[in-house]
């Protein structure tokens, strides 16, 4: 009984964010940055989306008219959306290349406004469990877990910026810091470097599992691709 109480107390301490209290990173941004995302004519990610449209027409449209709704259901069983796209194209493009980001942004934008569907089912379960373990594992020289910032301290300041809840609702994102488009894996790299951990290589299963767990955590939230973030 005492052990059960101790476990319960631990679970309460590192509680996941209640569904109703979840907020997209969009809500933590300044008015001007939100406006940059909202205006389709001036959102700089548009430059990638248009490239993606051209690439889609020349590479994908013989099989797919569109891929509406697909981005809301990825990653699936350990495969991320950009991996799935690149597999279909016989790994034509490098991770984080302009072409792969453009295609992924174009495909994901077709699901803009749709709720994220991530199911804790048999196919996804092992990946989600490993992703969750990564999220709660302390790592790096700062010995921090993702959850310590993004579950326990969201809304507070880390230096000059507000800590968001880490919902991957708008990837690939145009990050002002990058001055360009980037994937959720690039964002994970930044977090890992932030806690002074060694980042994984692009395409590592750990990244996809973590993305899956974050998508499960963000289930039901609306996709915003292409989002703008500071």
């Amino acid at each position: 009984m005492r052990i059960a109480l101790a476990i319960l107390a631990f679970l309460l301490l590192t509680a996941e964010i209640p569904l109703a209290e979840r907020r997209s990173g969009y809500e933590f941004m300044g008015r001007e940055t939100r406006a940059m995302q909202d205006d389709d004519t001036t959102n700089p990610a548009l430059l990638w989306v248009l490239d993606g449209e051209a690439l889609f027409k020349s590479n994908c449209s013989s099989c797919h008219a569109d891929l509406k709704g697909v981005a809301a259901r990825y990653p699936k069983a350990g495969v991320s959306l950009d991996q799935k796209i690149n597999h279909a194209l016989k790994s034509k493009f490098a991770y984080e290349s302009r072409e792969l980001l453009a295609l992924t942004a174009y495909v994901a934008k077709q699901s803009k406004g749709m709720p994220i569907e991530m199911e804790w089912n048999e196919a996804n379960r092992p990946f989600l469990e490993r992703g969750r373990a990564t999220f709660f594992r302390r790592q790096g020289q700062l010995n921090l877990a993702c959850a310590q910032c993004h579950d326990d301290n969201w809304g507070k300041q880390l230096a000059g910026s507000v800590i968001p809840q880490a919902h991957p609702t708008g990837y690939p994102i145009y990050r002002l810091e990058w001055q360009g488009l980037g994937s959720v894996q690039r964002r994970f790299r930044n977090c890992l470097i932030g806690v002074r951990a060694e980042p994984y290589a692009y395409g590592a299963p750990e990244y996809v599992e973590l993305e899956m767990y974050l998508m499960w955590r963000a289930r039901g939230m609306k996709l915003e691709t292409p989002a703008v973030r500071p």
Binding site: T41, T42, P44, L46, D51, E99, A102, Q179
Partner: protein, 107 residues
């Protein structure tokens, strides 16, 4: 991939109406002040000039400097005088050049 530029011009306007034009150019606007992690200076590579003509007459131009954000947005206004074509041209370092045009129907 080729230089990507986007312009947003209303397709139709009333004669005398002030219309807003928004332009985006895909360009890193490398400042010439950044260094690699080995300390090597990355040379400047920016768009330096933007010109908009309306049926061949220049109505707006701009000189751009390294303090312009990457993928520069330039938004300005012009009076819809007559139907025709607006042409946009960006030029810069290392022979960069991009053009785009948009038709407008003025009633």
């Amino acid at each position: 991939m080729a230089a990507r530029v986007v312009v947003n011009v209303p397709a139709t306007a009333k004669r005398g109406e002030v219309i807003e034009i928004r332009t985006l150019a895909g360009h890193e606007m490398e400042t010439g002040f950044r260094r690699t992690d080995r300390g090597v200076l990355i040379p400047r590579d920016i768009i330096t000039r933007f010109v908009c003509t309306y049926n061949g007459v220049e109505v707006f131009s701009a000189d751009l400097h390294p303090a312009m954000a990457a993928n520069p947005l330039i938004s300005f206004t012009t009076i819809a005088t007559e139907s025709g074509t607006l042409e946009f041209k960006w030029t810069g370092d290392n022979g960069y050049s991009a053009t785009q045009s948009a038709a407008i129907n003025v009633t």
